[in-house]
C-alpha cells in the first residue's frame, strides 16, 4: 500500500497543484495555460493507452483532435446543433474514421499503423485547408459559442478550468478501470508478446483496433472542447508537428502509469508556450522548438526511459537494477 502511494506520489502532488492553482492565481495567462494542459492531456492519456500500454505507434493523433474541433465547429455553426450533441456526434464519427483507418492496418504486423496514421494526418490537414466551403479554408471558422452546463456558461477561464480538470480526472479513472480489467491485461500482453497473447485467445487485431478507436474518441472530445474554449478553429494546430508533440508528451511523462502523460502534457505545453513568448522578441528562438523537443526526447530516452512519472521510484529502481547486473 505504501509502495502504491509512493508510486503515485507525483500524481497526488500534481492533484494538489491543480486544486491550489485557482486559489493562488486568477491570472488569465496561467489559467489558460492550465486549460491547454488539460486539453492536451486528454489526448495524451488516450494516446498513452495505445502507445505506452499496447505498443502501437500513431503519428496522426492531432488529426483526431482536429476532427473533433472541426466537427463541433461545423455542426454548431452551419447546422446550429446543440454543442453537446455536436461533441458526441463528432466523437462517434471520429471513432468510425479511426476504425476504418485502424482495421486494415492493425491486422498487419510491424509499424503499418505509424505509416497509415502519418498519411491520414496529412490528408486530414489538407482537407481542413482545401474544403474551404465548409471548413473556412486556411482562415478557419470563427464564432463558436461558449459551452453551457445547464444554466452556467463556461465563458471564462476559471469556469472552464473547473470543468476540464475534473473531466480529465474522470477520463483517468475510466482509463485505469480499463487497464485493470481483462481487456487491459490483453493490451499489455500484446505489448509484451503478440504471439503469446494470441495463444491466450486474445484477438489481438480486434483489441488493437478497440484501443485505437478509444484513443481517437478521447482526442475528438478534447478537440471539441478546445474549439468551444477558443471559439475558433483553423487548420494550423492540427498538423504533423502536434502529433509528434503528443507522442513526446506520452514519452516524457511516462507510459508506465495512466497519469504519466498528464505530466508530459504539462511539461511540453509550458515549454511550447515559453518558447512562443520568447520567440516574439527573438524570432530565432521560435524555430528552436523542434531542436529542443528533439533534445528532450534524446535525454529522456537516455536517462529516464520510463518517464518523469517514475522519478519518485528512481532511487529504488536503481538499487534493483544493480542487483540485475
Amino acid at each position: 500500500m505504501t509502495n502504491r502511494l509512493r508510486q503515485n506520489l507525483p500524481f497526488f502532488i500534481a492533484l494538489a497543484i491543480v486544486v491550489a492553482l485557482p486559489l493562488v492565481t486568477r491570472s488569465s495567462y496561467h489559467l489558460s495555460m492550465a486549460i491547454f494542459i488539460a486539453l492536451h492531456a486528454m489526448v495524451a492519456v488516450g494516446l498513452g493507452l495505445l502507445l505506452g500500454y499496447t505498443g502501437q505507434v500513431s503519428l496522426g493523433h492531432a488529426a483526431f483532435y482536429g476532427l473533433g474541433a472541426y466537427g463541433s465547429a461545423m455542426l454548431t455553426l452551419h447546422l446550429s446543433w446543440n454543442p453537446w450533441l455536436a461533441l458526441v456526434v463528432s466523437a462517434a464519427v471520429t471513432g468510425l474514421i479511426a476504425y476504418l483507418v485502424g482495421r486494415p492496418t492493425l491486422k498487419l504486423h510491424g509499424h503499418y499503423l505509424a505509416m497509415a496514421t502519418l498519411g491520414f494526418g496529412i490528408i486530414v490537414k489538407i482537407v481542413f485547408n482545401q474544403a474551404a466551403g465548409i471548413t473556412g479554408g486556411p482562415s478557419g471558422l470563427p464564432g463558436l459559442a461558449d459551452l453551457h452546463l445547464g444554466p452556467i456558461a463556461l465563458d471564462n477561464d476559471l469556469r472552464m478550468y473547473c470543468f476540464l480538470w475534473p473531466l480529465l480526472l474522470l477520463q483517468l479513472l475510466l482509463s485505469r478501470n480499463l487497464l485493470e480489467s481483462r481487456l487491459g491485461r490483453a493490451l499489455r500482453a500484446i505489448h509484451d508478446s503478440e504471439i503469446a497473447a494470441r495463444s491466450c485467445a486474445v484477438d489481438t487485431a480486434r483489441a488493437k483496433v478497440m484501443v485505437f478507436v478509444l484513443s481517437g474518441v478521447f482526442a475528438s472530445v478534447a478537440g471539441s472542447l478546445y474549439a468551444h474554449y477558443v471559439n475558433f478553429v483553423n487548420p494550423d494546430p492540427f498538423g504533423f508537428p502536434f502529433s509528434i508533440e503528443l507522442m513526446l508528451m506520452v514519452i516524457v511523462g511516462g507510459a508506465a502509469t495512466v497519469w504519466g502523460p498528464v505530466i508530459g502534457a504539462a511539461v511540453l505545453t509550458i515549454i511550447s508556450q515559453v518558447l512562443a513568448n520568447v520567440g516574439q522578441h527573438y524570432p530565432l528562438v521560435k524555430d528552436l522548438d523542434v531542436v529542443i523537443f528533439g533534445l528532450i526526447l534524446v535525454l529522456m530516452l537516455l536517462f529516464q526511459p520510463q518517464g518523469l512519472a517514475r522519478l519518485s521510484t528512481w532511487s529504488f529502481r536503481r538499487k534493483g537494477a544493480s542487483q540485475d547486473a
Partner: protein, 258 residues
C-alpha cells in the same frame, strides 16, 4: 478411449519455400493421454506444434480437435477452443506481474466488453473475481503462489517456464502443448518439472510434450511419436520406441546394413 479421436492429424504438411518441415504427418492423440513428440534437431517438432496451434498455416492436410477442423482457424480462435501452449523460447509478458500473466491465460473465460471495463460495472467485478480464483488455482498448482505479485521478467528462466505453464493451465484447456519445457533448466528443476507434468497428466488433461530429455519423456508419456526430417518415423509406447531400430538409427546415424 472415445470413438472419435481427441486430436487427429491428417496428412499434415508445412513447407517453407523448398524446405518440407512437416511432411504428410498423420496420427491420433487419444483423450487424457500424455503424448510425447521426439526427434533429432530440425525434425519439425516445433513446426508441428506451431501448425496445430494455428501460429503457422498448414500447407496441406488437416488438424481436427474433436469435431472442429482447426487447421484454417487463426491462432486466437484455436486457443479459444481450449488449446493452450507454452513456448520453447520463453514468451512471458515481462512487464506484467506473475498473477497478471496467469490472469491473461484466463482470457477465454471472460466476456465483459469495453463499456463494462471502463465503468467497472458489477458484472465485470463478478467476472474478475472468478478469473482471479482460476488464476490463483493455477499458480498454486505449479507452486508459484508466493511470487504472484513479482514482475514476471524478474524471475529466473526456470520460474518463467512455470509462469507459462500456469498461464496455459489457467485457461482450463482441453489440450496442452508443452514445447521443450525442460530446455535451459537445471537437473533439479527438470525433476520438479517431471513431477509437475506427471500431476498434470493425473488431472486427465490431454498433453503433448516435445522434449529432448529422454528420461523425462519415458517417465511421463504413455505414447511417443518420433519425427525425422518432417516425417512420422514411429508411434509407440516409450518401451516400444526404445527398442525400435529405425529410431535408434535416426538418432545415432544409419549403420551400414552389411
Amino acid at each position: 478411449m472415445p470413438e472419435t479421436p481427441f486430436l487427429r492429424l491428417e496428412a499434415l504438411s508445412k513447407s517453407f519455400g523448398g524446405l518440407q518441415a512437416v511432411d504428410k504427418v498423420s496420427f491420433e492423440v487419444p483423450q487424457g493421454v500424455t503424448f510425447g513428440v521426439i526427434g533429432p534437431n530440425g525434425a519439425g517438432k516445433t513446426t508441428l506444434f506451431n501448425v496445430i496451434s494455428g501460429l503457422y498455416r498448414a500447407s496441406s492436410g488437416s488438424v481436427w480437435l474433436m469435431d472442429h477442423r482447426i487447421t484454417a482457424l487463426p491462432q486466437h480462435r484455436v486457443a479459444a477452443l481450449g488449446l493452450a501452449r507454452t513456448f520453447q523460447n520463453l514468451q512471458v509478458f515481462g512487464s506484467m506481474s506473475v498473477l497478471d500473466n496467469v490472469l491473461t491465460g484466463c482470457h477465454r473465460h471472460g466476456h465483459q466488453g469495453i463499456v463494462s471495463a471502463l465503468l467497472h460495472l458489477p458484472a465485470l467485478k463478478r467476472e474478475e473475481s472468478e478469473l482471479q480464483a482460476m488464476a490463483h488455482e493455477a499458480l498454486k498448482f505449479v507452486g508459484l503462489s508466493a511470487l504472484a505479485a513479482e514482475p514476471a521478467a524478474s524471475l529466473p528462466p526456470g520460474r518463467q517456464r512455470l509462469v507459462e505453464i500456469a498461464r496455459a493451465l489457467a485457461s482450463r484447456p482441453r489440450l496442452l502443448l508443452l514445447d521443450e519445457p525442460a530446455a535451459g533448466l537445471t537437473t533439479h528443476e527438470t525433476e520438479t518439472l517431471g513431477e509437475l507434468i506427471g500431476r498434470i497428466g493425473e488431472t486427465g488433461l490431454t498433453t503433448m510434450l516435445i522434449e529432448h530429455d529422454m528420461s523425462l519423456v519415458m517417465e511421463v508419456c504413455a505414447q511417443v511419436a518420433v519425427l525425422d526430417q518432417g516425417r512420422l518415423l514411429a508411434l509407440d509406447t516409450p518401451q516400444g520406441i526404445q527398442a525400435n531400430h529405425h529410431v535408434i538409427a535416426a538418432y545415432l546415424g544409419e549403420e551400414d546394413p552389411q
